[in-house]
């Protein structure tokens, strides 16, 4: 019963904030709504006993990715026009299309012969009963570094690509900015800094 309340509460939050996210015009607000949606989802993930991932979602997503989003939004210094509608002209058709997609998903999941019947009667709590001392994190870690080591390496490469790409795309050398050159700084000798010039004394006439 508690589970059901938690589920309905947080799924409502997730869905409503998702809806808000796509309908507000201000990207900063949208980002915050997305964060909210992520939080709610994380709680639902906890409900499904995916503790590690729930934490990762909050840490990585909310902590890093969404901050990056906000950072970019702020950096770009956008001027948001509030008056115009932010939606396309065929907004209703678009909504209808999304609704069709959703209802076909809904229909499939509700079908008896869809292949879902094996799960249908299973309540949440008994679905996966773990022995005492079971650790979701440990279990994932074991798999990750043994069976999925290949995938893990590719994922590492992916992050490297992201770094290289992001830097090479956004980095620009501004010709007029003054920047330090540590190499020169360190190798500077005092002769370079001070030049003692002997000025001949001139007698005042």
């Amino acid at each position: 019963m508690t589970e059901a309340i938690i589920f309905y509460l947080f799924s409502t939050v997730a869905v409503v904030s998702a809806l808000m996210m796509i309908s507000v015009r201000n990207p900063v607000r949208a980002a915050f709504y997305l964060v909210l949606s992520f939080f709610a989802s994380a709680i639902i993930w906890l409900l499904l006993q995916a503790e590690f991932l729930a934490i990762v979602l909050v840490l990585v997503y909310v902590g890093a990715v969404m901050v990056l989003f906000l950072f970019v939004v702020m950096m770009l210094d956008l001027n948001i026009v509030e008056k115009e509608s932010g939606f396309t002209r065929y907004f209703p058709i678009g909504i209808m299309l999304a609704a069709i997609t959703f209802f076909s998903i809904y229909y499939v999941l509700g079908q008896k012969e869809s292949g879902m019947d094996v799960f249908q009667s299973q309540p949440l709590s008994t679905a996966a009963s773990h022995v005492e001392g079971y650790s979701n994190t440990k279990e994932l870690g074991k798999l990750l570094y043994s069976e999925y080591v290949y995938a893990f390496e590719i994922a590492a490469m992916l992050l490297l690509v992201a770094i290289v790409a992001a830097i090479s795309l956004t980095y620009r050398r501004r010709p007029k900015t003054r920047h330090q050159n540590p190499d020169l700084q360190v190798s500077a000798r005092h002769e370079d800094r001070i030049r003692i010039v002997k000025i001949p004394v001139e007698e005042r006439k």
């Binding site: 299309l97 069709i100 076909s104």
Partner: protein, 662 residues
């Protein structure tokens, strides 16, 4: 020993094919390193070797009765039991075609030295025509459909290259594109036909297919779900669509008249003597298939009849010397097609052969006139040329007589055989076809002699400058004319007994007993003399004579008449009131009427409907449609995402509806 003979023979066939190819490569690829003289020498030697060897082969088959050779030389690839090979099937049909192709090609090569003398693309031209000879030989010597298709496409390709040879002319490029597009329509059918052959017989080898053809007479194919079509009929119709484009049968004929933009030797070689007959040859070669489908035969018969009659009419109103001959070619191709439809394959091939000689002759003679006239092609600006160019005059006259079927000349034997064969045919459409080709005889005689009179007789109408310079063309031009004139006169009488009424082709052509009209005719055949004598009592002869006489009257006796006629006929009662013409009304109304009809057909039927709507129209339609629907690609990201979602939703709904309906 037996083996040895075969091997020796295979090397002969390879030499026949490769000699022109070598010439083409030397003149084409290494063109810049060799002189002009070298270029034509190399190619002519190549084709001459080919022609000599072809004659030798023909001798083997015709006189020594050699057995059919079917050898695979090289296996290209094998895929699921389907062999794609290069190989030769040589029998009497092939041997005869080889002689025709190489001989005409040789003549054209020699003639080109004179015709293209001042052209900057001299070497390129020789390379092309040698390449064409190679491709055409590949086509006729093929023993499988793939090689046939290769040759088919290759001759087409060279043909486009040559039509557009003078590519600085805007019209040449247009004609080139038109030929290309129309032939694509044909290829569409042809390749589907071949695919269907592969599917039905699981082989592309002629021998296998023909051997298995009778097994599939009952099989059907569902082109659209729920319909049943006889497989053989579908195959035959599809293949024939290919033949229609290549052999310029209505309504896919539109490219041929325009192809006259190419140099005249090309018109002679490709667009009269050889390439355009590839379709005829193909149908004859496939006779074991076509014989099994009366529907296809009837279709062929009617298409041929339409072409023979209506294309001839168009010839009457043309004023370009080459175009008149081009329309005559169309009409003659119609005759050949009619013969195919009537199962008189031998007569058709026979006409193909005689036509190759006399039509090449006519074109080359016309080319000779064109050279002398400094590339003027309008017959209204000619006249009286016979005094200046006697050899051209005589040879042209011989060619014309052969074309209209003067008894004794080559064209007579072949054309009369066709007319008789169609008369004897039992197919439902045979009566109409008979009528069409009978009238065609009159028309042929009329436009041929109109051309002849306007060019060679009457008052000279060219300007003084041209007239002062008018003289016979050099020997490289006239010698081929004379050499071609000989077979144009004699070849009919020499071979009619064997080829048409005898069993010359043997197993190369298969005719079902119930279709065999030529066998019926053979019973009444009592030698060449008898055939000639009999013709004097027959309708075609008198129609021909009437044609000549009408032309003579209209263009020689009363040259102002056609001009007036065409003006006055617009208002018929004026003509009727005019008593001066009243006596001649019988011949002139018909001639004039035909002229009007021809103009109408050419203006409306040809230019408007077929050119305008089908060829240009469909191209324009596609281009227009394309320019409209490209706006779907609006550039807006949300439209793209929307299209993707629409696709996804459609697929999901489709999935669900099929599941629910189950």
């Amino acid at each position: 020993m037996e083996n040895n003979l075969v091997e020796q023979d295979m090397s002969i066939y390879l030499a026949i094919v490769l000699a022109p190819l070598m010439g083409a490569i030397i003149a084409g690829v290494f063109g810049r390193y060799i002189s002009r003289t070298m270029a034509h020498q190399v190619t002519i030697v190549g084709v001459a070797i080919s022609a000599a060897l072809s004659l030798l082969v023909f001798k083997h088959f015709a006189l020594e009765d050699m057995t059919t050779i079917n050898e695979t030389i090289y296996t290209w690839m094998v895929s699921d039991g389907l062999h794609l090979e290069v190989g030769f099937l040589i029998d009497k049909l092939t041997a005869m075609m080889m002689v025709v192709v190489t001989f005409v090609s040789l003549m054209v090569h020699i003639y080109t030295i004179g015709y293209m003398h001042d052209d900057s693309g001299y070497k390129r031209f020789f390379s092309y025509i040698s390449l064409f000879t190679f491709s055409m030989l590949m086509l006729i010597m093929a023993n499988n459909f793939v090689q046939l298709f290769f040759g088919w496409e290759a001759v087409g390709l060279v043909s486009y290259l040559l039509i557009g040879f003078w590519y600085t002319r805007e019209t040449a490029i247009y004609a080139n594109l038109k030929a290309f597009i129309v032939n694509r329509v044909g290829d569409f059918g042809f390749i589907l036909g071949i695919a269907l052959v592969a599917m039905t017989f699981n082989s592309l080898d002629y021998q296998d297919v023909f051997a298995a053809s009778t097994l599939h007479t009952e099989s059907t194919i569902a082109l659209f779900p729920g319909t049943h079509w006889s497989t053989i009929t579908v195959i035959c119709l599809l293949l024939f669509i290919g033949a229609m484009a290549k052999s310029a049968q209505a309504p896919l004929h539109v490219w041929l008249p325009d192809s006259m933009e190419g140099p005249t030797p090309i018109s002679a070689l490709i667009h009269a003597a050889t390439m355009v007959t590839a379709g005829i040859f193909m149908v004859a070669r496939m006779s074991p298939l076509f014989e099994l489908s009366p529907v296809a035969l009837n279709f062929i018969l009617l298409i041929g009849a339409v072409t023979a009659f209506f294309m001839g009419l168009l010839g009457i109103v043309q004023n370009d010397i080459k175009r008149v001959i081009a329309y005559s070619t169309l009409s003659q191709l119609g005759y050949m097609t009619v013969a195919l439809g009537a199962s008189a394959y031998a007569a058709s091939i026979f006409h193909l052969m005689t036509h190759a000689f006399f039509k090449a002759l006519l074109f080359l003679a016309a080319g000779s006139v064109i050279i002398a006239m400094h590339h003027e092609q309008d017959i209204r600006k000619m006249g009286g040329i016979r005094h200046y160019m006697p050899i051209t005059w005589i040879t042209f006259l011989l060619g014309t007589l052969a074309l209209i079927g003067t008894p004794g000349f080559a064209g007579f034997f072949s054309k009369d055989s066709i007319i008789m064969a169609v008369h004897a045919s039992q197919l439902p459409g045979a009566n109409i076809a008979y009528l069409a080709i009978l009238l065609g005889v009159f028309i042929t005689a009329f436009y041929s002699f109109r051309l002849y009179f306007l060019v060679f007789h009457g008052q000279p109408r060219m300007d003084h400058h041209t007239k002062a310079d008018l003289h016979e063309t050099p020997k490289v031009v006239t010698v081929p004319l004379i050499l071609l004139a000989i077979p144009s006169v004699l070849i009919g009488a020499l071979f009619v007994a064997d080829m048409v009424f005898g069993d010359f082709f043997g197993a190369a052509i298969m005719v079902l007993p119930e279709h065999d009209v030529l066998a019926t005719l053979a019973k009444d055949y009592h030698g060449i003399i008898a055939m000639v004598l009999h013709s004097f009592k027959s309708l075609p002869f008198w129609l021909m004579l009437a044609g000549i006489m009408s032309a003579w009257y209209l263009y020689m006796v009363n040259p102002s008449l056609p001009e007036k006629l065409s003006q006055r006929l617009l208002i018929i009662h004026k003509v009727l009131l005019n008593k001066y013409y009243f006596d001649d009304i019988n011949s002139t109304v018909f001639a004039g009427g035909a002229r009007q009809l021809g103009t109408f057909l050419s203006r409306f039927g040809d230019t408007q409907v077929i050119d305008g709507w089908f060829v240009n129209g469909s191209a324009k339609l596609v281009a227009w449609f394309s320019s409209i629907i490209r706006h779907i690609q609006s550039g807006y990201l949300y439209h793209y995402a929307f299209a993707m979602m629409l696709g996804l939703a459609t697929l999901l709904v489709l999935l669900l509806t099929t599941v629910i309906s189950h």
